[in-house]
């Protein structure tokens, strides 16, 4: 990603738009302009350009590092705006404060984390804010801004499909619950048309904006909305009797046309094998889809379902506040609050499918919790205020205060029971006795709670907030601050630093030719391109499954076959990551099962059962011969027995199966200090081909020339 920004700043936008990168995915190359979401790069590029034209000479790397924190601040501001539209400024402030700290979002917006999500989440929240604003005001101006914000989101992240499916879902919900209004039309229709056009402008999306199933929901709801609008318009014009006549006529005639159109559409969609959905979307809808059909999507660790502890780690206390927020949104139910509820529910589902999408849940959780917290605080503080007033007056004034309270805040009727319900969830110990006492006192339906209860509750809520802050700070410092390229570990003699990756890339950049090709598993592609500046075969973009499968097949084949495959790709060096000496668990042997699966998915001669013993991948003496002969085993464990004499692998916790062997087609050129990265070179083909006669092992080495012993042949005869 960084080198894209460097290219942009050096060559300008036209060259970046048309850039054909020939140093990656050798020999296919990659059309950067058409396969990358340009939002992040263009944003950072604009920032850099503005700063430089103001004569603030920041380097490209500095801009990259600080883009994410800048945009996370903007995301907090956008959250404030969104929640303000839903519930009011108090809720907005609370939600913004919560988002500013939530660990899930911090993990993706740390200074230095330069990935799409850094700007995409801001774009997401801002788009939603503009939609709600348009819905609330009915102004076409905000609708235009909404479309433009959606365009920015499409530029930034593939997750824009979430927006283009959530908003139609909400519009449909509004129509179905009878909340159709002209403002809905103004909010939705221009967004769909302008948004589709703008999305089609981005090269990555292109015609997918109208052709893939991910966008059909928006068109369908657009049609429905137009029909509903027309119906309401005509209803307004006609008398009820005439309207009934019109309805029967239209329904009978239109039904036939409708069925025909639907049948055609269904036929079109069903004719494509994935029903028009992309692999990633399908794996979201059906969590088991990827593991059955697309091993490459299943192999990314970020695509696995999250565990329960990861919810607590990432959104902490908000997990408990969210249900309270949902209830708060129902009282009263406005268009905006129904939207937020829908957003929360869908993002909870998707975060349950893929741990990477916890990031989409975080803003929703913050909004909900902000609403809940601010409403709770509102009730308690008002209770305290009116309780202190009420103590001075008699019952009449209390009644006045109560009615005043009622007039000013008409929706506080439901607050106490809700608060009782929500508080019970959190602090059952204290409130159990308070609630019955409150119920006893409220024979005349008091709208406030006793002052002591309120004070205690406020203190407890503040304590809750404090826990949240402490947890967020800890999570940010411990879990999400370490760069993934330099590893550290604490041992009894202090901090150990494993800098093997940078060591290996530095070796590559100094000891190989500029045009040499390096083959490794795709995880290390971007790093190799950025730090070693060498052409790679596959990288993290994973857009070509066959190419990755070729590399996977080569790693799973015996030496000679692997050499043939790599030679056909003009590869000079092969890089493997090995953690057996120090106990680094994400090395290539642990990823080997994906190499076999992905390779076997495209090349059927790689069969996974050949590598399994009792259903497990093993590398000890019970491993299958195919496993012991494959290139990955040999390149990882070559000369490993020299380290401790027994070849004990610290990650797999067993001694290796084949200990002493030679490499025939590869030669080792570099192994890093902790043996974590090992680089091998392909041997050139032999100069002479040997004949078939076996070498005689028992050759007597006589120092005396045997010439005198044999009969000398007379050369003259």
């Amino acid at each position: 990603m960084l080198c894209q920004l460097q290219f942009l700043t050096k060559n300008g936008i036209y060259d970046f738009w048309n850039w054909f990168d020939d140093r990656t995915w050798y020999p296919l190359g990659r059309v950067i302009g058409g396969t990358v979401y340009p939002g992040l790069t263009l944003t950072a590029g604009t920032l850099w350009w503005i700063l430089n034209s103001l004569n603030i000479p920041l380097s490209v790397e500095t801009v990259c590092v600080f883009t994410a924190p800048t945009f996370s601040a903007l995301a907090a501001w956008a959250t404030y705006l969104l929640t303000k539209e839903v519930k009011g400024t108090g809720a907005g402030l609370t939600a913004a404060a919560l988002l500013a700290m939530v660990p899930s979002y911090i993990s993706r917006s740390v200074a230095g984390s330069y990935d799409n999500e850094a700007v995409a989440i801001f774009a997401l929240i801002f788009t939603f804010y503009l939609y709600i604003k348009t819905l609330n005001t009915g102004s076409l101006f905000y609708a235009t801004l909404n479309a433009l914000a959606y365009f920015y989101m499409v530029c930034s992240w593939g997750g824009y499909t979430f927006i283009i499916n959530l908003i139609p879902m909400h519009a449909l919900l509004c129509i179905v619950t009878g909340r159709y209004s002209p403002r809905l039309y103004i909010a939705y229709a221009p967004l769909v048309i302008l948004g589709t056009l703008l999305a089609a402008l981005v090269p990555v999306v292109g015609f997918n904006a109208v052709m893939t199933s991910e966008h059909f929901a928006s068109f369908l709801v657009f049609l429905i909305l137009n029909v509903v609008g027309l119906v309401y318009y005509i209803k307004g014009m006609l008398t009820p009797k005439m309207f009934k006549v019109a309805v029967t006529l239209v329904v009978s005639a239109g039904l036939i046309v409708c069925c025909a159109v639907v049948a055609v559409l269904v036929a079109l969609v069903a004719s494509s094998p994935t029903k028009g959905w992309s692999g990633r979307s399908l794996s979201l809808l059906d969590p088991t889809y990827a593991s059955k059909y697309i091993p490459i999507i299943a192999s990314v660790s970020e695509h696995q379902p999250p565990t329960w502890p990861s919810y607590f780690m990432d959104i902490n206390v908000l997990a408990f506040l969210v249900p309270a927020g949902i209830i708060a949104c129902f009282l009263p139910l406005t268009d905006a609050s129904s939207f937020v509820i829908l957003y929360l529910v869908t993002s909870v589902y998707f975060s349950g499918v893929m741990v990477r999408l916890m990031l989409v849940l975080a803003p929703a959780a913050c909004i909900m919790s902000g609403i809940a917290l601010s409403s709770a605080f509102g009730v308690f503080t008002r209770s305290i205020k009116f309780a202190s007033i009420g103590k001075q007056d008699d019952a009449g004034d209390i009644g006045n205060g109560v009615t005043q309270n009622h007039v000013v805040k008409p929706d506080r009727n439901e607050e106490p029971p809700k608060e009782k319900a929500s508080r019970k969830k959190k602090k059952e110990k204290e409130n159990v006795e308070k609630a019955p006492t409150a119920a006893k006192k409220s024979e005349r339906r008091l709208l406030m709670l006793p002052m002591e209860a309120s004070v205690v509750a406020i203190l407890l809520l503040v304590l809750l907030g404090a826990f949240y802050v402490v947890h967020c700070v800890w999570a940010a410092a411990e879990a999400y601050s370490a760069p993934s390229i330099v590893l550290t570990s604490q041992s009894h003699d202090g901090l150990h630093v494993f800098d093997d990756f940078r060591e290996a890339y530095a070796w590559l950049s100094h000891n190989t030719d500029v045009d040499d090709k390096v083959a490794s598993w795709w995880d290390y592609g971007y790093q190799t391109t950025a730090m070693a500046n060498r052409t790679v075969i596959v990288d993290n973009n994973t857009w070509n499954n066959t190419h990755i499968a070729t590399v996977g097949t080569a790693m799973s084949s015996p030496e000679k076959a692997a050499w043939e495959i790599f030679n056909s790709l003009d590869v000079k060096y092969v890089l493997v990551v090995f953690g057996g000496l120090v106990g680094y668990p994400s090395d290539d042997i642990n990823k080997f099962l994906w190499m076999v699966r992905i390779g076997g998915g495209v090349f059927p001669h790689i069969k996974e059962p050949d590598y399994l013993r009792d259903g497990q991948y093993r590398i000890d003496n019970m491993a299958t011969p195919t496993m012991l002969n494959c290139l990955m085993y040999k390149l990882s464990y070559y000369r490993f027995v020299e380290t401790d004499g027994k070849g004990f692998d610290r990650v797999r916790r067993t001694e290796i199966g084949k200990k002493h062997f030679k490499l025939t087609h590869f030669e080792e050129v570099f192994t890093t200090h902790h043996w974590m990265v090992r680089i091998y070179k392909l041997k050139p083909p032999k100069n002479r081909l040997r004949g078939k006669t076996k070498k005689s092992k028992s050759k007597p080495t006589s120092t005396i020339s045997k010439r005198s012993a044999t009969q000398k042949k007379n050369p003259w005869q």
Partner: protein, 435 residues
């Protein structure tokens, strides 16, 4: 961008041509001759004189002379080696089989002659080069139908061989009329080995067995599978000649006449001298040695070499190939030099046309696929040094402004959009100003 490509190319040139001698003059100059008996120097003097008359500097040494050395301080002292010591068990000085094979692998030539009493060392060197001598130590090639009629040798081990390989490059343009006298051991060659060629094979009736003892089992080596003289051209274009008979090079065989059994023609002089001279010319790179220089490619109409092509471009590719004639570089003329435009498989394969003066050129259209391609020339002809050139060049797709500007079929859409704009303008006028 072109600088590293140029250095890569020069490196490839150097690897095509033998590293030892200067690329400008590929014929060997200094030759070490190892003998196991100094009398070989005089008994084979005609052969050695023919070499010296062509300008070679021969250095005769005994094979087990402890002062024998091929290299000193990492530099090789000789350009080629002739091993006429079939019975030697271990070589003197620092030489052994591995040293000789390293000598060959660094690009130098070798002539190896074995004999009926070939030692294990000689057999080992031959096996490493791809030639397997008969494992029976006492076996010789016997042929009861193609032997040379003679008064003295009665066991038909003296063979008149005339199954030559069909190659003008190796054996010269003049046909060898008289058969070649051969007496020695035979060898076999793995048919899967593409680097070894049998120059003189035995006739289909020959077999390899001990002439003195009765045959108890059928011989393993029979017929034309037996090679009498073979050559090997290694991947770095070092050339090796392996002969099963040392006496084939001797003065006696050069001067004697030959009559093949079953034929009435009695040749006054055997074909040995011509055969051996021609094949030595080939082994020492006086013939069949090519160099390829000046690889150029450019877009049609331009002169500069671009660093990247676009799909559907027209381009021209040219290179010059010269052949060493023994004294100077002459243009190489052939009609089968091909160039491929290759990315994991050849997208374009064209035979290049020549102007008879050594320049080969062709032009073609870049295919409709983008990626990183290579211009590959893989020229492997029998007896000729192999040319293996590869030049990498990326091919990019169209830029966004390189498509057709206005597409005729789309005019209605252009019209509709502009009419929308016009309609908007008119509508706003009407709407604002109506009463």
């Amino acid at each position: 961008m072109s600088r590293p490509l140029l250095s890569l190319l020069t490196f490839l040139f150097l690897s095509i041509i033998c590293n030892a001698f200067s690329p400008e003059n590929p014929t060997d100059r200094k030759v070490l001759v190892l003998l196991d008996d100094l009398s070989v120097k005089s008994s084979h003097s005609l052969y050695f004189q023919s070499l010296q008359s062509r300008g070679y500097d021969l250095d005769f040494k005994l094979a087990d002379d402890p002062r024998v050395a091929l290299q000193r301080y990492g530099q090789y002292l000789y350009d080629a080696l002739i091993l006429f010591s079939p019975t030697i068990e271990s070589l003197g000085g620092s030489l052994n089989a591995a040293a000789i094979l390293d000598f060959v692998d660094s690009g130098h030539d070798l002539i190896l002659a074995a004999d009926a009493s070939a030692s294990d060392l000689i057999r080992e060197i031959a096996t490493e080069c791809g030639v397997d001598f008969d494992e029976d130590q006492a076996a010789m090639v016997i042929d009861h139908t193609s032997f040379a009629v003679s008064d003295t040798e009665g066991d038909h081990t003296l063979i008149a061989g005339d199954n030559f390989i069909q190659s003008d490059v190796i054996l010269g343009k003049e046909k060898i009329k008289a058969p070649v006298l051969f007496k020695g051991i035979g060898h076999s060659v793995n048919p899967a080995n593409s680097l070894v060629l049998k120059v003189l094979s035995a006739s289909p009736a020959a077999y390899s067995a001990n002439p003195k003892s009765k045959l108890s089992t059928p011989p393993t080596l029979t017929g034309s599978a037996i090679g009498l003289v073979s050559v090997v051209q290694a991947r770095n274009n070092a050339r090796i000649l392996i002969s099963g008979s040392l006496s084939m090079f001797s003065n006696r065989f050069f001067r004697s006449g030959v009559q093949k059994a079953g034929s009435t023609i009695n040749h006054g002089r055997s074909g040995n001298e011509q055969f051996v001279t021609e094949i030595s010319k080939w082994v020492f790179h006086e013939r069949g040695h090519l160099k390829a220089v000046n690889v150029r490619h450019h877009k049609v109409g331009e002169a500069d070499e671009p660093s990247i092509y676009r799909i559907n471009d027209e381009l021209e590719y040219s290179l010059e190939i010269y052949e060493w004639s023994g004294t100077s570089w002459e243009p190489y003329v052939a009609d089968d030099v091909q160039v491929q435009f290759y990315m994991m498989s050849p997208y374009v394969l064209k035979t290049m046309s020549t102007d008879q003066k050594g320049i080969y050129y062709t032009s073609f259209k870049v295919p409709d696929v983008y990626g990183v391609f290579q211009f590959k020339v893989e020229y492997k002809k029998l007896g000729v040094t192999s040319l293996s050139l590869a030049k990498q060049i990326p091919v990019r797709p169209f830029r966004h402004n390189e498509y057709e500007r206005f597409i005729t079929a789309a005019f209605p859409y252009y019209g509709a959009s502009f009419s929308m704009m016009g309609g908007f303008f008119i509508f706003s006028l009407v709407y604002l100003y109506h009463k």
